[in-house]
């Protein structure tokens, strides 16, 4: 099986021209550090997907255990004009990953957004707090079991808030 930075390379072809690797959660930081050292100087994007109700084949490479959550990070190497996508499986019973903040400080807002929307904790993050929702909001809106139609409009003066 093909590997890069010690992580399996995605399926049998790159995803539409962009290389994909699948690090395991325990090696997430090591693989990211190896990519950083190899010239991927910018963290372009970091997001997550909740695969709870996904109905199709996820075409993960052999040896990668599918889990409910997947954190997807997009890296850019300006020198080589190359992109790399890292997809890591995050289990539902322990949704946590080490933060990438020390490698790319630009991950701060992006990880806060993933924490806010999916409830995935980033260990070691300097300020892991909600970023888009109010601080006291219950639940994580982009999870698939979070119903989009049930939250009433919130008025601060109303006595029956939620």
């Amino acid at each position: 099986m093909a590997e890069r930075y010690g992580a399996p390379v995605g399926a049998d072809r790159p995803s539409r021209g962009q290389a994909v690797i699948h690090p395991s959660p325990s090696r997430w930081l090591d693989v990211a550090a190896a990519a950083r050292a190899d010239g991927f100087d910018q963290l372009i994007d970091l997001t997550a997907v909740d695969y709870l109700t996904y109905g199709a084949d996820r075409s993960l490479p052999e040896g990668v255990q599918p889990e409910r959550f997947e954190v997807v990070a997009g890296l850019m190497s300006h020198e080589r004009l190359e992109r790399l996508r890292m997809r890591v499986q995050v289990p539902a019973d322990d949704p946590a990953l080490p933060t990438l903040f020390d490698l790319w400080p630009g991950s701060e807002s992006l990880e806060r957004e993933v924490y806010d929307m999916f409830g995935i904790a980033f260990e070691g993050h300097p300020d892991l707090s909600r970023i888009l929702m109010p601080e006291d909001w219950p639940g994580h809106p982009l999870r698939k079991d979070y119903d989009s139609g049930r939250i009433p409009v919130q008025f601060k003066a109303a006595s029956n808030v939620r």
Binding site: L110, I131, L132, S148
Partner: protein
């Protein structure tokens, strides 16, 4: 509101040679980690409220915590900044966002690929066509379809004009934020002419839903060449007027030069793209470095700054308008004839007239507008160079006609992270110039 005890008063912070990140106020500056030296004020609402309970009337040596926004005329919508001030100097700050958050990514999971454009176009409302373009490119990657040449050239034409109108809006607001109020009128005036052309082509001034998976919604109207040529003739001399009004003007230079400086290394580390990155001296433009559409067939320059200050970011945007007009005039000559959308019957609805005479056309029309077209399972990321930087759309499909996940990598959202670093050790008045020069669109930040 005054802060006592919790926030140690900081000296002017030295630049850290090791990390390239500006060093923030901290006790024992020699042995602090990068986190503690940060320019970002990492304080929760609860902590801030607690400090707010302290008696007012701060002494000379005390730090003040001040809220700027969300309804402040210079915060471009509903951006709120929590500022830690020593006198009028900003020490640390924190952008507080989410006031426009309406869960558009969640909404996107309930709309078909054809409807998705109406959703994403409302994110960056100053450059809606770029949102549609990135969404369409990602969808087309998953579908594996090709778009006719004319459709691609139309997309380029519309996007470059949109870049012009977006940067004109920046010119207007940047001028207004700095007290050049007449500039605001001029910027809006020229932008309106571009929007008038958009209305003629798409039917709407904003939120067009014009670029769709498979092509564009309608062909260019008759006489578009004249309209576009007139636009170029109108705007180009006006740009020279802006130069006279602002660029060389001493007050303008005084307000912008050396304000809000960021280095290329810092900008890259913080994920910044677009004029912020180029202003810091890094020649990086996806149109040139990762060509999409037909940008490899037109001739244009990537505008780069040297100092990474507000003035460079202003000058870059002004000259990018010129480059965009240069591209537009090349597109006028290059525009081929042909289809404006793919003839793939599964993606493109049939012409209205065909529905009356063909059963298949009726079925296809019905299927596309009720169920939508199915997209093969998989994931795709498509990025374009929006006026604010890299605008990316990450799509996950499970094989149905509705995306399983729509994520938009909004340039404003990421660029906003540079704000505390740009504002650190500057004055509040400069903060206004800095917010303006980052040019955040809050609809895109909050989504």
């Amino acid at each position: 509101m005054s802060i006592t005890g919790t926030v140690p008063a900081g000296e002017a912070s030295p630049e850290s040679a090791e990390t390239g990140m500006p060093a923030g106020p901290a006790a024992g500056a020699d042995r602090v980690s990068r986190r503690e030296r940060s320019a970002v004020l990492r304080m929760s609402e609860a902590e801030a409220a607690e400090i707010g309970g302290d008696p007012d009337d701060p002494g000379d040596d005390e730090l003040v915590l001040l809220n700027m926004g969300p309804s402040h005329p210079s915060t471009h919508g509903v951006l709120r900044l929590m500022l830690e001030l020593s006198g009028e100097t900003v020490l640390r700050s924190k952008p507080v966002i989410g006031y426009l958050h309406t869960g558009m990514e969640k909404t996107g999971e309930n709309l078909t690929y054809l409807q998705g454009g109406t959703n994403v176009t409302r994110m960056d409302y100053a450059s809606p066509l770029f949102n549609e373009l990135a969404f369409s490119l990602a969808t087309e990657q998953l579908l594996g379809i090709d778009v006719p040449e004319r459709a691609t050239w139309i997309r380029m034409l519309m996007c470059e004009l949109n870049r012009v109108s977006s940067h004109l809006l920046f010119m207007a607001t940047n001028g207004m934020d700095l007290g050049a109020v007449s500039m605001m009128i001029y910027g809006w005036r020229e932008r309106e002419e571009v929007l008038r052309f958009f209305e003629k082509v798409t039917g709407l001034r904003m939120n067009h839903n014009y670029i769709r998976p498979g092509g564009v919604a309608a062909d260019l109207p008759a006489g578009w060449r004249t309209d576009v040529s007139e636009l170029i003739e109108l705007i180009e001399p006006r740009l020279d007027e802006y130069d006279t009004l602002l660029t060389g003007q001493p007050i303008w230079r005084e307000r912008l030069q050396g304000v809000g400086v960021i280095s290329a290394a810092e900008a890259v580390a913080l994920g910044a793209t677009g004029p912020i990155l180029r202003g810091a001296g890094m020649a990086w433009d996806l149109r040139r470095d990762e060509p999409y559409l037909f940008y490899d067939q037109v001739d244009f320059d990537v505008i780069v700054g040297t100092h990474g200050d507000c003035y460079d970011r202003y000058a870059i945007r002004l000259n990018e308008i010129r480059e965009s007009l240069r591209i537009v005039s090349q597109i006028i000559d290059a525009m081929p004839s042909g289809d404006y959308r793919t003839q793939d019957k599964k993606v493109t609805p049939p012409p209205r007239a065909r529905i009356d005479e063909s059963m298949e056309a009726l079925i296809h029309h019905f299927k596309i507008f009720t169920e939508g077209f199915k997209v093969p399972p998989g994931e795709a990321y498509a990025a374009v160079e929006s006026p604010r930087g890299e605008l990316g759309v990450y799509l996950v499909s499970d094989g149905t006609s509705v995306p399983y996940r729509v994520h938009v990598r909004a340039p404003s959202f990421v660029n906003l992270q540079t704000l505390p670093h740009l504002m650190q050790d500057g004055l509040i008045a400069d903060g206004v110039a800095i917010i303006s020069s980052v040019d955040p669109i809050m609809g895109e930040v909050d989504r």
